[in-house]
């Protein structure tokens, strides 16, 4: 049977050599290589569930009155968009499962990407010849953040609207062109014309997913063309030789198993753990707001940055050069992305290492990279945590403004401290290994000598 099938395909496409190569493509051995796969599978779930949701969602801001089954909203004015999202949760069979699974998938998609990125960064996998793969990955992450934000916004519940207002504030704050840009996007000042929702919708369900899919295809193609990197776990792995399990039969059941597990986890979460209960938030109006509104976790670093910024617009005469939200909402994330984009070049400059690397570093092998990376990560993490300081006050009674001041200091101090400690630890670990190697060599030598002596004695 399989012979027939392969023959059928080969006679029509001539792809047998390619197929054979694909089947015997090698996957090196380390669990952290699977993080990217998790992200990929989450994306698959997102596309599938998202398509289902799109069959019911209406991208309309038309004002309607709710008469559905959810009592606390009955008689309330809302947009058709929010109404359709409510219907998905209340009247469409399995609609809530799909919506919640979609949302969990988004959260986990970004989490997997971030973990994947951390692995890539701290092992130096971005080095030649994989620079382009890395850049495409970063572009994808950026696109995914935007995509997630739009998904959060489309529902048009109270949180959506507040999120959009903040997005609008950040867009307006871009120096020189902010207001013009915002006017183009929203078709006038916030909340914009009804066309704005159509624009978000087409961006969320077509433009950005298509962009992500394209980047994803390029990313995977580049990975395959360059082959995976690998850790030096045995003497067999070298810069020229890759050691691993072939796609088939070794890797296939593993990857399919992972795919199934990701899908299963997402559906379990989607069915069992409530996410974004939009009916509890109520509809959005520009004059309505609630306390403790937060973006999804992957934009939490932005709300933290917005809150940490002291009261300050950068003004020259009557010209407002940099309105406040720019620092936290735009400059900060751009700075982080800029760092990630530029780091490979910076590292090449500093280390003078311009070579190709198929073997990965362990974090300790590159103390400078580890120190700088951990420092930046610490800074971003602190800003992220600062975004939840209001909740910390409610739950633990630690004053909000005190926390803000502590964070303002820590954000600058902690990265330096963490970086220095990390550097030190790397060096110590290296030394420890050096000692260990030395000891082993000495032992081996001693062994050899004693064996030789024994041999000599026996001989005598």
């Amino acid at each position: 049977m399989i012979r027939k099938l392969v023959g059928f395909l080969d006679r029509r496409s001539g792809t047998a050599p390619l197929l054979r190569k694909t089947l015997r493509y090698l996957f090196p051995d380390h669990w952290s290589f699977l993080l990217g796969e998790v992200a990929l599978y989450a994306f698959v779930v997102l596309v599938a569930t998202g398509t289902y949701l799109a069959l019911f969602y209406r991208d309309s801001t038309k004002d309607v009155v709710y008469h559905g089954p959810y009592a606390p909203l009955q008689g309330q004015h809302m947009t058709e968009a929010y109404h359709s999202a409510l219907d998905l949760s209340f009247t469409v069979k399995a609609g809530l499962l799909m919506r919640q699974t979609h949302h969990w998938a988004a959260n986990i998609f970004v989490a997997a990407i971030v973990l994947h990125l951390l692995r890539i960064f701290f092992t130096g996998a971005y080095r030649k010849p994989r620079g382009l793969t890395y850049v495409i990955g970063l572009l994808m992450l950026f696109t995914v953040l935007l995509e997630g934000y739009l998904g959060y916004s489309l529902v048009d519940d109270l949180l959506s609207g507040m999120g959009l207002a903040i997005g609008y504030g950040v867009a307006l704050s871009i120096p020189f062109v902010g207001a013009n840009l915002a006017a183009l996007i929203w078709d006038g000042p916030f909340p914009g014309s009804p066309a704005f929702f159509s624009r978000m919708y087409i961006a969320h369900v077509f433009i950005l997913p298509a962009l992500i899919a394209t980047l994803l295809a390029l990313h995977l193609a580049l990975v395959a063309l360059r082959h995976h990197t690998q850790f030096k776990q045995t003497p067999r792995e070298t810069q020229r030789k890759i050691v691993g399990v072939p796609t088939y039969p070794g890797q296939t059941p593993r990857s399919l198993g992972l795919l199934s597990f990701v899908v299963g986890t997402l559906f379990l979460l989607g069915g069992l753990v409530q996410i974004n209960p939009i009916w509890l938030w109520g509809p959005y109006h520009t004059y309505a707001a609630e306390n403790g509104a937060q973006p999804d976790w992957y934009l939490g670093w932005l709300i933290g940055a917005l809150r940490l910024m002291p009261s300050w617009d950068f003004v020259i005469g009557h010209y407002t050069l940099v309105p406040n939200p720019f620092w936290g909402g735009a400059a900060f994330p751009l700075l982080v992305f800029g760092f990630l984009l530029l780091w490979p070049a910076l590292e090449r400059r500093f280390t003078g290492d311009d070579g190709y690397h198929n073997l990965l570093d362990r974090p300790r092998d590159a103390p400078m990279r580890t120190a700088v990376g951990l420092g930046v990560f610490t800074g971003v993490l602190l800003v992220f945590l600062a975004g939840a300081s209001d909740r910390v006050d409610v739950m633990f009674g630690i004053g909000y403004s005190a926390q803000i001041w502590v964070y303002r200091v820590l954000v600058f101090v902690a990265p330096v401290v963490v970086g220095l400690i990390a550097y030190r630890v790397c060096i110590e670990l290296q030394k420890g290994e050096e000692v260990e190697r030395e000891r082993k060599r000495a032992e081996a030598e001693a062994d050899a000598i004693s064996r030789r002596d024994q041999l000599a004695r026996e001989y005598v």
């Binding site: 051995d29 380390h30 669990w31 952290s32 699977l34 993080l35 998790v38 959810y70 009592a71 606390p72 909203l73 009955q74 008689g75 309330q76 949760s89 809530l96 919640q100 969990w104 959260n107 986990i108 989490a111 997997a112 973990l115 949180l159 776990q233 045995t234 399990v245 070794g250 593993r254 198993g257 597990f261 990701v262 986890t265 979460l269 069992l272 753990v273 409530q274 996410i275 974004n276 209960p277 009916w279 509890l280 938030w281 109520g282 309505a288 707001a289 609630e290 306390n291 403790g292 509104a293 937060q294 973006p295 999804d296 976790w297 939490g300 209001d390 909740r391 409610v394 009674g397 403004s401």
Partner: protein, 254 residues
Amino acid sequence: MLFALALPGAASAAAQPQQGDLVARGKHLYGQYCIACHGANGRGVEPPVPNSAGAAPQRAQNQQNAAGPSLQGVGALAADFYLRTGYMPLREIGKQPRRNRVLFSEDQIRALVAYVASLGNGPPIPQPQPERGNLSEGMKLFTEHCAGCHQVVAEGGYVTGAVPPPLENSTAVQIAQAVRIGPYVMPRFSEKQISDRELDSIIRYVQYAKHPDDRGGWAIGHLGPVPEGLVTWFLAATALITVCIVIGKRLKSE
């Protein structure tokens, strides 16, 4: 009369005959626990003015800058609220009163309430009837007046310098009282702004919000993204990493 009627449950009937006695006992308790901050006869105590030459007259008699608002005219409504929530006695002057263990017995509370009510012509303990309220009207009014501070599902929040509490432990009467009093930095909503009927709706919504429709599953606090992020990282990401490790260990272990 009025406040005695308003006391919850069967106690009201018993309290009625001993009115004067109750007030006297309340006055005694007041002298023990409240007078330092609220002054004799509930006249209130102004805090010392730091930078003015002619210090406040009460300065000499107060230890530790004790200060508190006048209780004349606040009525049974306020006294009952502050005592039954454990807001009073306050732990530290100037700090936000927080829900606490109630220090007084039921009898003592009734006595203190009676005494404070006798200080001036204040409002009685309200008798809200949330079952008469309209849930959707309640949600709308709550969103408009309360959600800015208390969060839209009444899970509490932050306002510069204070923490609007979660309302999960608030009784119908306490909600009605808080709306009319405006404790600490909360606004005070009179019947002109929020009628008793509207208040019933709000209370009905707050009671609903304690156990709302959680058709999505485990509610994780009705707070949205913060707990959702925690579940993403500590539950989902952990599970996925574990499976990655299980799958990813394949060669050297065999």
